[in-house]
């Protein structure tokens, strides 16, 4: 592959490649409970509140920068890593050195580089490398070191400008489309019209939280949930992200959904999504849980969604062995670390489903969860898996 051949850095390779074969579209799906042990996995929901139609949103963003700024301030106001400033730098160089220069730029501090593919260019044509740098980086030093390291005599010419947040977010957002999970069940972005009004439509403004309906793990979890909820169940969504599973459970007939997340913005996004689906706080409760590294938020429990009611978070979270169905769609490591915590919420005999893992990780999950669960089954979609089982009546906490 070209990109591998061209990589000149002295790497030992341990690469894997991933193919997104589905025609690209839709919106995002993966959800997360951010790993208690790793603050880095926190995923802020960046999206500002959206107006009902995309067109309208665009107009607002295009014509009224004050409105846009206001959106941003609102969207970012509760995160310390708030605005993520970055610099966008365009560097001119000859095509034949562009791959080397890109690699070198990353070695010397660039955050990313990208090059458009041009078929009809000759080797000595000038092309443009678009790169980004973090705000505090010395761009000139990086570029001159990079150029020097690959033997260029002159530092290439370049232009620096402040990165525009709204630009990439709008572009990302354009890719959201309604997704049919199974017959009669759709996940529809807020600003699009549901293709089938008779179907169960989960309306989402996913923002930039995980859980947008398109991802195989979200689909697997929705299918599992669909088969389990018959009416009147209590459901726990461990790592709720956009709240898609918690909302779906209510639509399927569950008596109560509780969504946990460690990301305040995910909780906020899930609250908005609950209200988009006309689900009130009596049915869907959302709970911000503290991470091990980030305890100060314990007092600031955001709760209960739509009406913004403040209930005591600890009351819910301490209610172990309460839920009829527990699903956690996160990642391998948190699933392994938090296994006993996740399972502790389920009633004996309740179904626990875990996802967010790829095929090669199945054995680790099965091994870890077989001490708590019996009748374990694995469902797969593409390279992704969802594992479910019934909680043992005499499960021994590890």
């Amino acid at each position: 592959m070209k990109c591998l051949v061209s990589s000149l850095r002295s790497h030992f390779f341990k690469h894997f490649s991933c193919t997104t074969t589905t025609t690209f579209c839709f919106f995002f799906s993966a959800r997360h409970i951010h790993h208690r042990l790793t603050p880095r996995t926190c995923l802020p929901a960046l999206f500002p509140p959206l107006s009902p139609s995309l067109t309208k949103t665009r107009t607002q963003w295009g014509l009224n920068s004050i409105t846009a700024t206001k959106f941003w301030t609102t969207a970012f106001s509760d995160t310390s890593s708030s605005t993520f400033p970055y610099l966008s730098v365009h560097i001119q160089c000859r095509k034949d050195v562009a791959d080397m220069l890109s690699e070198a730029l990353l070695c010397f501090g660039a955050s990313s580089t990208s090059m458009d593919e041009q078929d009809n260019y000759e080797n000595d044509d000038e092309i443009c490398i678009s790169s980004t740098f973090s705000d505090c980086q010395d761009v000139h030093e990086c570029i001159s070191h990079a150029a020097n390291s690959i033997g260029l005599k002159e530092t290439p010419s370049y232009k620096v400008k402040q990165g525009d947040q709204s630009d990439w977010i709008m572009k990302t957002q354009e890719s959201f489309h309604p997704v049919e999970i199974t017959e009669g069940l759709w996940v529809v972005p807020e600003w699009r019209i549901p293709p089938d009004l008779q179907a169960t439509n989960i309306i989402l403004n996913p923002g930039l939280t995980f859980g947008t309906g398109e991802h195989p793990t979200t689909k697997l979890c929705l299918l599992l949930l669909h088969s389990l909820i018959k009416g009147g169940e209590l459901f726990l969504d461990y790592g709720t992200g956009s709240g898609v599973l918690a909302i779906a459970a209510i639509k399927f007939g569950a008596a109560l959904s509780v969504g946990l997340d460690v990301d305040p913005l995910a909780i906020r996004s899930a609250q908005k999504n609950a209200s988009l689906n006309n689900i009130g706080a009596e049915k869907l409760q959302l709970l911000l849980v503290p991470t091990k590294d980030n305890c100060p938020i314990t007092d600031e429990v955001i709760f209960g969604g739509v009406e913004g009611q403040n209930l005591s978070g600890t009351r819910v979270i301490s209610e172990t062995e309460k839920y009829d169905v527990v699903i956690a769609n996160i990642l391998l490591n948190p699933l392994l670390d938090l296994a006993d915590h996740i399972v502790s919420f389920a009633k004996p005999g309740a179904v626990v489903g875990v996802s967010g893992i790829i095929s090669e990780q199945i054995p680790y999950i099965v091994e870890r969860y077989s001490q708590f669960l019996e009748g374990i089954s694995v469902s797969k979609m593409d390279d992704w898996a969802c594992i479910s089982g019934t909680k043992k009546r005499n499960a021994i906490a590890s």
Binding site: S7, C18, R40, P44, M115, S175, L208, E214, G356
Partner: protein, 122 residues
């Protein structure tokens, strides 16, 4: 529906994107957001995928990612473990290498360090 092979063979490439992302820590923010957003790639799918596939590395390990963006907005990516330089500097507890390579020694490592580094590549 087109077969996988058909899709793979006919997709024209739009761009090549290179990034450094901490293992398990891709999120919809710079640098990942702007880099993928400009080609309208499925940002969250990338984050979820990357994070799932880098679970075996320690959370702060900087991984180099090369993404091939196709014109139909699909993508493929390869992930490489960090450069040897990163491992050496980390083992030595230094931020940067020698200011005058070949003249000034920045740090020394024992064979044991090297053994530990090599184990990561095994």
């Amino acid at each position: 529906m087109a077969s996988l092979k058909e899709i793979l063979t006919r997709r024209p490439v739009a761009a090549t994107i290179r990034l450094t992302v901490p293992a398990g820590g891709a999120r919809p923010a710079p640098p990942v957001g702007p880099a993928l957003g400009q080609y309208r790639l499925n940002l969250m799918a990338f984050c979820k995928d990357f994070n799932a596939r880098t679970q075996k590395y320690k959370p702060d390990t900087p991984m180099s990612v090369t993404i091939t963006a196709f014109k139909d907005n699909t993508f493929e990516f390869t992930v490489k473990s960090p450069s040897v330089t990163w491992y050496l500097k980390k083992s030595a507890g230094i931020d940067s290498g020698s200011s005058r390579p070949g003249h000034v020694v920045a740090s020394t490592l024992t064979v044991k360090h090297i053994y530990e580094i090599a184990k990561d590549f095994a």
